[in-house]
Symmetry: C2
DNA sequence: TTAGTGTTTAACAAAACTGTTTGCAAATAT
DNA sequence: ATATTTGCAAACAGTTTTGTTAAACACTAA
């Protein structure tokens, strides 16, 4: 009976934590093993190398990054640009709140390692081009109707992502000298401000 | 005669490169010494520890991050908000173009190490509150004149910085599959798009 | 010339880290 | 019941990395 592959799972979990907190170079297999409560020989037994363990963590995390975009594309089938923007920003904020270190982790590993970059691009590309197409057609419709000013889909997407992501990049620094409620309020204010800022920016 | 403190400088230069490219954990003192063309004993002779060498690099780089803000505050004494925004975005783009890895380096070290965070906040705070005050009064004047919609200074500052910084975060990924001219064009387009996006967003 | 100061090298030491081997105990299959 | 596989720990091995030491070297000033 023993423990139905418990250790294998514990090691992976500990590895996720460690890699996300410290990056590939900062993470140590000994520390991961200790965090998982196993000898470090076990880590090598199940995952053989640090590199291999990292790849497992990394590709899972890249999948996670794409999640909110997939969700948006599946749920919001035929809506206006404004509703899509509102829905997405809200969705993305929830996601980033729940995974505050995720984006920075993936970004850094992508920047510092060409192999990771390929893995990430391969995983992200299909969803992103799907998103691009959707945004593109939403923009076209609104421009024709005279509801918004002309803007390139890539620029709009970058703008929205920028404002969302940097919010959670500065969040730990801003929240450091705040009460919890204040910090929560900051996020809330930032979310509504992002929405109105974007919507105002694309008005004719 | 030897070489008038040349090695000390060479080591510091090599350390800047290495730390910025690979971060504290990824950087190796042996690699820094090799890059500087000296034995690694020399590195310890001049800087004693990796940590110490890092601190020297880090605080210099934090100073550099604040540079464009100081420049803006000194040069643009009494101007309109629109001109300030235009000037700053242009200035900031030049700066980020010249130091593409700087922000990410400082950010990561700040996030991963509380001591670095204190160093950075201490160095950045005065300039930032100066900037805040200036933006605040510029906004007030324009709001009173009915030229723009009401927006909190912090939100506007965050928005501008977000759009600028993320441009250079995605730049290496986007430029990877582009000709040089195309990549330069992307930056140029992004700069003017950022300006008009911001200005449009704060219109009444 | 010599004593002194700062610079450089080579060799060494210690620790941290990744990965391997061995051997054993429990579980599963034959 | 016996053989085989699987899970696990302890000890070991090799490498990388940081940091130290001692001696050589170069230059300056007494």
């Amino acid at each position: 009976m023993a423990n139905e592959n418990n250790n294998e799972r514990l090691i992976l979990q500990a590895a996720e934590e460690e890699f996300i907190q410290k990056g590939y170079n900062g993470a140590k297999t000994t520390s991961i093993a200790a965090k998982a409560g196993v000898t470090h020989a076990m880590l090598h037994y199940y995952y053989r190398t640090k590199e291999n363990l990292f790849q497992k963590v990394f590709s899972a995390k890249v999948q996670q990054v794409v999640q909110p975009f997939k969700e948006l594309l599946e749920n919001d089938k035929s809506i206006t640009l404004e509703k899509a923007i509102r829905d997405f920003i809200h969705l993305h904020f929830s996601f980033l709140k729940a995974n505050p270190l995720l984006i920075n982790f993936v970004y850094n590993e992508v920047i510092s390692n060409p192999t990771n970059r390929k893995v990430a691009i391969k995983a992200i590309y299909p969803t992103m081009s799907h998103l691009y197409a959707r945004v593109s057609s939403l923009i076209n419709a609104e421009v024709e109707a005279g509801n918004i000013t002309k803007i390139k889909p890539l620029q709009l997407i970058l703008n929205i992502l920028s404002l969302n992501i940097t919010t959670f990049m500065v969040y730990p620094l801003i929240a450091e000298n705040m009460q919890q409620e204040q910090a929560a309020l900051f996020l809330q204010e930032r979310e509504s401000c992002n929405i109105s800022f974007i919507l105002n920016a694309i008005k004719p």
